[in-house]
């Protein structure tokens, strides 16, 4: 059976850490009592620990799948780990006592608005927050605790010269193999047949929070006011009418790309069980080529509407994740087949001072030292490829190649034909380069969204 899945690419080099995505999401969806602490979209500074505190550490949180004797098991069940994160692990939600600014008597010092708990309304000392270590990467407290340092000599990167940082925006990944869904004994969590958006039925949910624990990305939040769990809904009311999710629409850095991919449902389990080093490839393998007539026919037979097939052919996600292999899933080792994928950061864009004293990014100089880029490959591999460094190298090389191609054409005045050698070496064509340029550099047509089942709409007589 062929399924359509809505998905997102985030190009990390472009994120400026402005948090506009989080704020717009908050205002649209979670600006309510019971959800004060919940950020369906959050942006983390890396290296760092993220939100909730060290969410990637599954020994602490019990999320995701584990492979045991060839079978997939929920980690929470295998290890009897049913505890969800505490509010302090998320953060104690607070506001400020702005009233004092108006009511304070005249004094020599300026009046101060002190932090006040949104839960108890009492004054609190704020000691931790959803992006507490914002912009402090390399700081000697939180950066050290980042779980992605495995096999990296982190000390090098924590001293002043070696420091690197990037932002990591996160939403629910609307996983193809979602443990949140499987963990719910009430079957309240479901994945929509038409587009794969993962939702929680608010009538069925009884607030047991198994999904909160089971999601290794900690993207299900318990609403303590309603007693039910909630999560990112991929702005489905917007999506159904052809609009991008709010986080994407409002993204200042234009880092987010939304599209549909088609995948082979029968091979999902096999992909989720792949050996660690093959997980990225296995996930790519189940994504089908929407131009293949056989795939399109099977998709139609499976009930995928025509406009979804068309959208899949123009999908930036298909190109970046499957065709060009520049995007990678976040923590594939959780075996969830997450469908928000990331183009890893080159940060900083690689430039060297050439002999003529000009800044350039000479491809030939850079490629041999790809392992010496500012962000250690191993760190990125731990985050985006279950430790498989080759997947990261492959993606970064292509990103460098595309830059070099355009530099050769636009700066050095070489012909496209001549410059295309660099593309070919990396398995890219000139058409690919133009598309990449349109999407990654100009940021045009960042989302290709099919409206929901157009053909099923009732036609109503027009006025006049």
């Amino acid at each position: 059976m062929v399924r359509a899945q809505v998905s997102m690419v985030m190009v990390l080099d472009k994120c400026i850490g402005c948090h506009t995505c989080s704020i717009t999401c908050k205002h649209v969806w979670t600006n309510r009592e019971g959800m004060e602490y919940a950020w369906w979209n959050n942006v983390e500074t890396r290296p760092g620990v993220g939100y909730p505190f060290k969410w990637e550490d599954q020994e602490r949180y019990g999320g995701g799948w584990v492979l045991e004797n060839g079978k997939l098991r929920l980690k929470l069940e295998k290890e009897n780990h049913y505890k969800p994160p505490s509010i302090e692990e998320y953060y104690h939600p607070f506001t400020y006592d702005y009233e004092t600014l108006f009511t304070e008597e005249l004094k020599d010092e300026q009046p101060t608005a002190n932090p006040v708990s949104l839960l108890t309304r009492e004054r609190i000392d704020v000691k931790w927050g959803p992006n507490w270590d914002d912009d402090l990467a390399g700081g000697d407290v939180y950066a050290k605790m980042d779980p992605n340092w495995r096999s990296v000599e982190k000390e090098i990167y924590l001293n002043y010269k070696g420091v690197f940082m990037f932002w990591l925006p996160r939403i629910c990944n609307h996983c193809i193999n979602p443990p949140c869904l499987v963990s719910c004994p009430r079957k309240a969590v479901y994945k929509r047949e038409e587009d794969g958006i993962v939702l929680i039925d608010q009538v069925r949910c009884r607030g047991y929070r198994f999904c909160v624990t089971a999601c290794p990305y900690k993207k299900v939040y318990y609403n303590w006011k309603t007693g039910k769990s909630e999560k990112c809904i991929f702005c489905y009311p917007r999506f159904e009418t052809g609009q991008a999710p709010v986080c994407t629409e409002s993204c200042v850095g234009r880092i987010r790309y939304v599209g549909v991919v088609l995948y082979d449902e029968e091979r999902v389990e096999e992909a989720a069980k792949a050996p660690l080093e093959k997980l990225v490839q296995a996930q790519r393998d189940i994504i089908l080529d929407p131009w293949d007539p056989g795939v399109a026919r099977k998709a139609r037979e499976s009930g995928v509407p025509e406009n979804f097939i068309k959208a899949a052919r123009e999908s930036p996600v298909y190109y970046m994740f499957k065709k060009w292999e520049i995007a990678l899933p976040i923590h594939p080792e959780f075996r969830t087949l997450p469908m928000v994928v990331y183009v890893p950061p080159l940060n900083p864009v690689v430039t060297t001072l050439d002999r003529r004293g000009l800044y350039s990014a000479d491809y030939r100089d850079v490629l041999p030292i790809i392992d010496e880029l500012r962000i250690p490959i191993r760190y990125l591999a731990n985050m985006f490829a279950a430790g498989n460094e080759e997947e990261v190298r492959k993606a970064l090389k292509k990103l460098i190649a595309i830059r070099e191609y355009f530099r050769m054409v636009n700066v050095e005045g070489k012909s496209k034909l001549e410059a295309s050698r660099i593309l070919e070496e990396n398995g890219l064509s000139r058409e690919d380069a133009d598309l990449m340029y349109k999407w990654l550099a100009i940021g045009k047509e960042r989302w290709i969204i099919p409206t929901s089942k157009k053909e099923l709409r009732i036609s109503i007589a027009r006025r006049g």
Partner: protein
Amino acid sequence: MVDRAPPALVIIVSVFVVAGLATLLDTPLVTAQTPELVVRYVNGSLPLDPRADFWEGLDKMEATLGSQSIVYPLTPQSTATLRITAAYNLSHIAFYVEWEDPSMDVEVPGGTDVFADAVAIQLPVSEGSLPYICMGTVSDPVYIVYWKAPETVEALVAGSGYGLSPEEREALGLSKTPKSPIEKLPESEQDWVASAIYEGGMWRLVMVRETGSTHPLETGIRPGGELSIVLARWEGSQYERGGLKKISGWLGLKVEEPPVAPEAVTETVTETVTVEEVVERVPYSVVFVAGLALIVAAATIYVMLRRRPSSA
């Protein structure tokens, strides 16, 4: 010689053998359910206050509960205890439950990892039946009163949902399609009143409801009748919720006859049939031994019969 099915005699003899064996093992297969607690009749009011002396004065049944081990989510086995008693008067029935608990767990604002202590009593909808212990079946549903610290109390029904048509469900005040195998009864049936206190490392809880049944999925209480109940307990500090719970087996309660038949009560009680003889759930080991005995006996007798010259 042509193989034949064992004659009727073989089966009869085998049944005797099994019955004998079961008696030896002191595990009767079919038995009148012996009530373990008597629900006392009270001529007067039932105190809602768990501290009232009244509750001190009643005999209590101590029930040992074990971890639910039938469906996901499962946990390693452990046990817990509840002490329960009950009383009724002309109009109401009250359950009193007490248990030791080192921590008082109630939901709090922002309590993302906080789970409340809770207790539930499950009864068959029809008196005399013993439904599937794990929340009933379509043909034999269960009625559940669920209390969650400090003061939530709900009347629920389980098992019935999927056996009813949308029209039947609507007529019963349920949503057209079932959203879950366990459902809240309509508001009109949410007639439990509960009062609980936590003191000195112990919860004491009283839950009161009218004796009569006003809904086909509500269990009625009949003077002189018998009640079967299953107790469940969730320990908040151990993150117990949903299927992470401890449950008892079926426990028998006898509703004491009032000294003089109170007319007011008989008017409100739903007609139910008393079944004196009920089949109890027999431990698997007994079923296994009995089954084995049946096979051995059948085989022995069959071989004996076959050794005799055939009259055919």
